[in-house]
């Protein structure tokens, strides 16, 4: 399957935005080669600010730029953006209600060899908890590009989680991202699997295999984690009666939690969350780590099968 870089998609989109709108400003914290903001920096040196290894100051400066009508995009690795600068994002960006876009690379454990210190497995939770903050996790490079164009038009603070590794392409050029809307990428009746980021691809793989076993799985790419698409979650619960969530993030506080929050208050059905248990990441190759942390298609298949056993039989027929 063809893979593409989310980071390069981001870099290209920024460059195009920079050409269209002179209010686009880009900041980075000494990782512009890695996050690909360097592409923007090269063409628009006056609108690019390398802040050095100083994430807190980067966020505050971005807030000041936004307070003066600019549209700042601030980038670094996910753990430093959301962890080191969390309180700056809270006070100077979210509390202020300022139009700052935080676009991080290196979300999740697929950071790989650098190890647990560099693997952001809490970032979705950290950003989702902040009032007014939108949280988006693109599933492939095509969606990343769309997300960047969309959030440049949207007024308000946004966190976008990208990745170090290339993701298999899910979409073609016809795809149209909508903030706050999940997208159904495969229809099914027995179970719904709601995934985000790289796990969307793994979920599609799992769904094909489940079909061979006679299980029809509805697959949803929930790229906007906040505001979450409640209607689609509830509709899916009504149709399939059981939901698996899958994310490259802790099972605490991320997509799985967000889905459970909706279901428990509105339409409770059996749920299984796939993600990283209550522990930190470790060094290793991305593929090895995905297997080690049980984030592979086979893990989703197993979870789906087990969950179907828990599903009250009568619910299966409701459609």
């Amino acid at each position: 399957m063809e893979k593409a870089s989310l980071r390069e998609a981001y870099g290209r989109a920024l460059l195009e935005l920079g050409r269209r709108n002179e209010n686009i400003i880009v900041l980075d914290a000494d990782l512009s080669g890695s996050t690909k903001t360097k592409m923007f920096a090269k063409e628009f040196p006056n609108r690019f600010f390398n802040m050095g290894v100083a994430e807190q100051d980067m966020i505050g400066t971005a807030a000041g730029l936004a307070a003066s009508g600019k549209i700042p995009f601030a980038s670094t690795f996910a753990i430093f953006a959301t962890g080191r600068a969390w309180e700056q994002i809270r006070q100077s960006v979210a509390y202020a209600g300022l139009n700052v876009k935080i676009v991080a690379s290196h979300g999740g454990i697929t950071v790989g060899d650098d190890g647990g210190s560099h693997q952001a497995i809490e970032d979705i939770a950290l950003m989702r908890i902040l009032p007014h903050m939108a949280v988006i996790v693109p599933a492939d490079a095509i969606e990343m590009e769309q997300v960047i164009y969309t959030i440049a038009e949207y007024e308000g603070p946004v966190y976008v989680r990208g990745s170090r590794v290339n993701f298999p392409l899910i979409y073609n050029g016809d795809y149209h991202f909508q903030l706050g809307k999940g997208s159904i990428i495969r229809e099914g009746e027995d179970i719904t699997i709601i995934a985000t980021g790289l796990m969307v691809h793994h979920t599609l793989e799992a769904a094909k295999e489940l079909e061979n076993c006679g299980i029809s799985a509805r697959v949803i790419n929930m790229s906007t984690i906040k505001p979450i698409d409640k209607e689609l979650i509830i509709e899916s619960a009504k149709i399939t009666g059981a939901i698996v969530t899958a994310e490259e993030h802790l099972i605490i506080g991320g997509l799985g939690s967000a889905v459970c929050e909706v279901l428990s208050e509105s339409y409770p059905v059996p749920v299984k969350r796939i993600g990283i248990e209550d522990r930190f990441g470790i060094s290793g190759k991305p593929e090895a780590l995905l297997a080690y942390f049980h984030l592979m298609p086979e893990d989703i298949i197993e979870a789906a099968k087990r969950l179907l056993d828990c599903k009250p039989h009568r619910l299966r027929a409701i459609a």
């Binding site: 400003i25 006056n46 609108r47 600010f49 802040m51 050095g52 100083a54 807190q56 100051d57 966020i59 505050g60 400066t61 971005a62 807030a63 000041g64 730029l65 936004a66 307070a67 003066s68 009508g69 600019k70 700042p72 309180e87 700056q88 809270r90 006070q91 100077s92 509390y95 202020a96 209600g97 300022l98």
Partner: protein, 274 residues
């Protein structure tokens, strides 16, 4: 500066101090000492130095002010109100539910407040961002940011100090309210920040040191700062915490305590007699 103008500013400062004390007394909580120490600095900025227009709050050419030491909000509110940003009656709703005057400055509620502050150490970064945006837009406006002395213990302040020098942000002027006290005691005892002037110089800033209660010195320094090109300027203003009320001066206890009714009466009497 004409003597008459200085006298006018002094009279305003006295009224501002009285308003601060009444506000805090009515709120029954808030930061007395650090509000009183910045009165002359704020009065000099808003009643003499800065270009701003309370009837057109967001006009683009205005100078910007960021109160990085957000706990001095009562002083800022009293000044903004007297400038005409909002009715004086609102001052006495400080910190109450539904008030436009939050415990710490909040741009969502209060006209004249540019960005929210209160969590220390973040104002200089935001001021840098504002100044960079103004420079990109080729605006003549200047940015003023007021820091506390205890506040510079925050690491982010020094990140921002590097940024301002690195990007030669000379449309920005920081003022440091060096009153020597923080919540737990004397700054030098809690976590020494000296040599303060040398630190800022080493970070690439032009450093001016003044008596922060002397209008002539404040206004001279603000004028000088405007002429310094190619690097940012910081005015280290030596001040007295609780300034203007003898029994609040240099008293660590009044960092975060509001005057009670008896203290208020005594304080107002003392201010009137001077």
């Amino acid at each position: 500066m004409e003597e008459a103008d200085i006298e006018r500013l002094k009279a305003i400062a006295k009224d501002i101090r009285k308003d601060i004390l009444i506000m805090l007394n009515k709120a029954t909580s808030g930061h007395t000492g650090g509000s009183l120490s910045v009165v002359e600095i704020l009065v000099a900025l808003f009643f003499s130095k800065m270009r701003h227009d309370p009837s057109n709050v967001h006009y683009r050419e205005r100078d910007r002010f960021v109160l990085s030491k957000g706990h001095a909000a009562p002083a800022l509110y009293a000044v903004l109100s007297r400038c005409g940003y909002f009715d004086r009656k609102e001052l006495f709703e400080l910190r109450k539910l539904g008030s436009h005057l939050q415990g710490h400055p909040d741009s969502k509620f209060t006209p004249g407040v540019e960005v929210p502050t209160g969590s220390l150490g973040q104002g200089l970064s935001m001021a840098n961002g504002i100044a960079l945006a103004l420079r990109l837009d080729k605006m003549p406006s200047r940015v003023y940011v007021l820091l506390g002395d205890g506040e510079v213990q925050e690491g982010q302040v020094w990140e921002a100090a590097m940024t301002a020098a690195h990007y030669k942000i000379d449309n920005l002027c920081a003022i440091l309210d060096n009153n020597g006290l923080q919540i737990d005691g004397w700054v030098k005892d809690v976590m020494n920040i000296e040599p303060l002037g040398k630190k800022w110089e080493a970070f690439g800033w032009e450093v001016l040191e003044i008596d922060g209660h002397d209008f002539n010195q404040i206004l001279d320094a603000l004028d000088k700062a405007e002429k310094i090109k190619g690097r940012p300027t910081i005015i280290i203003a030596h001040t007295i915490k609780g300034k203007g009320v003898s029994f609040f001066e240099n008293q660590v206890k009044y960092h975060g305590i509001a005057p009670n009714d008896i203290e208020l009466e005594k304080a107002l009497k003392e201010l009137d007699s001077n």
